[in-house]
């Protein structure tokens, strides 16, 4: 049986009882109950499980939890602050950037990572950064629009 691991998720510290080889995705969903991070493929191909690790977008399904012990992880549940949505969450609603919305949390996390690295990305840069996230409903044009809106509103201090 595994020894206890420490994980910081959305600013909260957790002691994990799962084995170290269990994926971060399984720990988030099953042990911590943070089900906003989705399983889509388990092979790092669809981006539905994207979380932030030190501000970088990472696929939680590809990370054994032991490799992220002690690190700070942000999930979709950690973006809303005091009932106020992150500008990109807000922009997704404004742009209607979803249909079934199963890909939405992963899309938003990839978008937040991008905006953290580059405040005003071009449309091509957004498409490139989000290319690892699949939306089967095909709402890509509106997702691009949402990231652009968020970028503009964040730059404007809105």
């Amino acid at each position: 049986m595994g020894k206890s691991l420490e994980l910081t998720v959305n600013g909260k510290r957790h002691s994990i009882t799962s084995d170290g080889d269990v994926t971060l995705l399984q720990v988030l969903r099953d042990e911590l109950g943070l089900t906003g991070t989705k399983y889509g493929c388990g092979e790092g191909q669809c981006g539905a499980c994207t979380v932030l690790l030190g501000g970088m977008a990472r696929r939680a399904c590809q990370l054994p939890v032991s490799t992220v012990a002690g690190q700070s992880i942000t999930t979709i549940e950690g973006l809303e602050r005091d009932g106020k949505l992150h500008p990109l969450q807000h922009a997704f609603i404004e742009a209607g950037a979803f249909q079934c919305a199963y890909c939405t949390p992963g899309m938003i996390m990839s978008g937040v990572a991008l905006l953290g690295q580059k405040a005003r990305p071009s449309r091509e840069e957004i498409a490139h950064a989000l290319d690892g996230n699949i939306c089967r409903c095909g709402t890509y044009p509106r997702i691009l629009e949402a990231v652009e809106r968020a970028s503009a509103s964040m730059a404007g201090g809105a």
Binding site: Q26, G33, G36, A127
Partner: protein, 718 residues
């Protein structure tokens, strides 16, 4: 008292039951009001089963406690002013939770926010065959409008009684009834107070014409959008009832393999693990997903695999060989004489087109949570057919249907792929053995192997045209892919159109647009070939043979936006079109492609004109039309299931390419709003013009005709 329409329920959402499921729920009025509280309720009663719709097998068998199947929808106005509307339809990303609520709000004259939709719950919602075939907007929306209009009349009558004035002098608007003469008004909430008033009505047409819609026809955002962007919405895989176990099914090494022996001793030793063997079904449940995976991995099973009948390499010749020699009458349409038509033609053409099996690949895999209590079964699952799933469960467990409740959380897409009860059956079987709730979530590999596929198919066409480009003969045979959209909208006196069914080597079923994609690919590619044979512009050739005004209108609208005919401005550039009518939706799609020196096909621009009668939610419709074209890129250019020896060879997203951001063309959606025509559905038809438009554009660019879907670059190198 103020109407409780503001603030009480900011966002209409699925009706969350607190406490036990409601058993013995029936249409008896007092029971209905016990569940929902006092108020005013209206039910629609179907006079007969909808004509032309497929009947679910065994539908006639009605469990004694279940809802009468002739009740098709209902609506309740509560003492708090909240309007609760019930439908057996489900939300799978097509945005009907929003668009149906719009229709109800419109007809009842209440703010959109006060309407909540209870959807896809076999214990609460009326029987519904399923959410497929683009039926929700043309059938369910009018039904709900009708109940809403009757409820409005009831409310007006209540006010008329109260004030002792004639009902026709009163006005219903903004969730209240007003007497313009005296200026008095009563909120719906006040009128519903203390009442238990119910009315049954026959199905009928709605009363408010689209030209007078106020809430419908507007781009209202998705109702519970905030839940989706925060990750709060719980799809089936996100449900975690207390004590839930995780289930894993041991999959055979090949299709139709039978279990010879099983050694489950290692798994049985594992703490907390439950093993089930039932015939060829072997599965385990464990306290965590990882424990279940470990237990499944420890199973030692020996299987016997039958000889595989076909592979993706020989599938098209196989389908032709095994096809039934003659379709039955329903799948066959003839007029005039093909031979005479061909003889009279100045130019004749013959060509064969093929389409591969493809996978729906919904991002939320098939999943279910099952729980048994006192011999009753509750299953949460993402399905398009909650009542169909209930029936499959009833058959499998030999239970009356009233002991089973199927609940569908808003689901992470389906595209026609979630009609069957597979995951529900597996979870329920495990849960019965474990005596605890069990969750089964398919892996992507299971999803791409054990679900069902869009059928592969072969289409043979023979045709003839006169010297001036009029169609004289049209012979069209579809092998296996299906008969949706098989007819031709073009004017041709000599026709023979036939669907030939085949016992498919792979499990196959519905897919967004069904065979209309294959049939339109074949027909619209062939029309392009004929246009070139006649030396006519492809648009001119189509219009010359087309008298359907609505189809002409979308072709003309798309052509105008696209700028057809266009001059080539760069190497490898090409332009093409495809279109048609299906499920009362009219579509014309124009594409600009660029064929790279590597032979890769890049779609640069798509213009899609679509007309489906009166538009209910233009924003949602735009999203559907655009999304359908993005999805269509996959089947047109990349997607194909490869199989051999009873195995799927590419059951992973790394090997099965679906459209990504990098593939995204510029997409322009042109909507034609026909307020004089009843609304048709829009989830499927916008997809069907894309593949032929791309194929025809590739021909324009390269002079090579691609007659197979997907149109892989390798086909251009040959």
């Amino acid at each position: 008292m103020k109407p409780a329409t503001k603030g009480v329920l900011v966002e209409p959402e699925r009706y969350e039951l607190r406490g036990q499921p409601i058993h013995h729920f029936s249409i008896a009025r007092r029971d209905f009001f016990k569940v929902l509280g006092a108020g005013i309720a209206v039910f629609t009663v179907a006079s007969e089963a909808p004509a032309g719709m497929p009947q679910e097998s065994g539908r006639g068998r009605r469990a004694e406690e279940e809802l009468p199947k002739d009740i098709t929808s209902w609506l309740h106005v509560g003492e708090d002013g909240v309007v609760t509307t019930f439908t057996g339809k489900v939300e799978i990303g097509q945005n009907i939770r929003t668009s149906l609520a719009q229709s109800v709000a419109d007809e009842l004259r209440v703010p959109f926010e006060s309407v909540r939709m209870v959807m896809g719950d076999t214990a609460l919602t009326p029987f519904d065959m399923g959410t497929f075939g683009s039926r929700t907007t043309p059938t369910m929306a009018p039904q709900l409008r009708h109940v809403a209009s009757v409820a409005r009349d009831l409310l007006v009558e209540q006010a008329a009684k109260e004030w002792n004035v004639p009902a026709e002098k009163l006005v219903a608007a903004n969730a209240k009834v007003t007497d313009p003469a005296s200026g008095r008004s009563l909120a719906y909430a006040e009128l519903a107070k203390g009442k238990t008033l119910a009315q049954e009505i026959p199905e009928a047409d709605p009363v408010t014409p689209p030209s007078e819609w106020t809430v419908a026809g507007k781009p209202i955002p998705k109702v519970n959008a905030r839940d989706f962007v925060t990750g709060r919405h719980q799809y089936t895989p996100d449900l975690r009832p207390a004590g839930v176990l995780h289930g894993k099914v041991l999959r055979p090494p090949a299709f139709h393999a039978t279990l010879v022996s099983l050694d489950a001793s290692a798994a049985e030793q594992m703490p907390g693990v439950v093993v089930v063997r039932d015939g060829d079904f072997v599965a385990v449940a464990g306290r965590s997903e990882r424990e279940a995976e470990k237990a499944a991995a420890s199973l030692k099973a020996e299987w016997k695999s039958p000889e595989a009948r076909a592979s993706s390499r020989n599938i098209y010749s196989y389908l032709k060989e095994k096809a039934e020699s003659r379709g039955n009458g329903r799948d066959r349409e003839t007029a005039g004489s093909i031979e005479e038509g061909l003889q009279a033609a100045a130019r004749r053409l013959e060509a064969t087109y093929t389409v591969a099996y493809i996978a729906h690949t919904p991002l939320e895999p098939r999943a279910a949570v099952a729980e048994w209590n006192d011999g009753k079964l509750t299953v949460w699952t993402g399905t398009q057919r909650p009542f169909g799933v209930r029936e499959e469960l009833a058959d499998a467990f030999q239970l009356p249907q009233d002991r089973i409740r199927v609940i569908v959380p808003d689901t992470g897409s389906a595209y026609g792929g979630k009609h069957t009860a597979d995951a529900a059956l597996e979870a329920a079987r495990l849960a019965r053995a474990a005596k605890r709730p069990v969750k089964v979530v398919w892996t992507r590999e299971e999803e791409m192997t054990w679900a069902y596929f869009r059928p592969a198919g072969v289409i043979d066409i023979r045709s003839g045209i006169t010297a001036d480009g009029k169609l004289k003969a049209w012979e069209f045979h579809n092998y296996n892919s299906g008969s949706s959209g098989i007819g031709t909208p073009y004017d041709v006196a000599n026709r023979h159109i036939e669907f030939h069914s085949v016992d498919s080597p792979l499990r196959q079923g519905s897919y967004r647009g069904l065979a209309a994609t294959a049939n339109h690919f074949a027909r619209e590619s062939h029309m392009d070939e004929l246009a070139h044979a006649a030396g006519l512009d492809p648009l001119e050739f189509r219009l010359k043979n087309l008298s359907d005004a609505r189809l002409r209108a979308v072709f003309e609208a798309a052509a105008k936006s696209f700028g057809w005919p266009r001059k080539k401005t760069e190497a490898g550039q090409g332009f093409g079109m495809g279109g048609g009518v299906e499920k009362k939706g009219y579509v014309a799609t124009f594409a600009e492609v660029r064929v790279e020196s590597t032979k890769a096909i890049r779609v640069k621009k798509v213009v899609c004109a679509f007309e489906c009668g009166a538009i209910v939610n233009p924003d949602g419709l735009r999203n559907q039309v655009s999304g359908a074209n993005v999805m269509g890129l996959g089947g047109a250019l990349f997607e194909a299931i490869e199989f051999a020896d009873g195995k799927i060879l590419n059951p992973h997203l790394a090997k099965y390419r679906v459209p990504r951001f990098r593939d995204l063309p510029e997409i322009e959606v042109v909507l034609l709003d026909r307020k004089d025509i009843p609304s048709a559905g829009a989830g499927e038809t916008p997809l069907i013009g894309l593949a032929p438009a791309i194929g025809n554009a590739v021909f324009d660019a390269t002079g090579k005709r691609l007659r197979s879907l997907p149109m892989l670059p390798a086909l251009l190198q040959a």
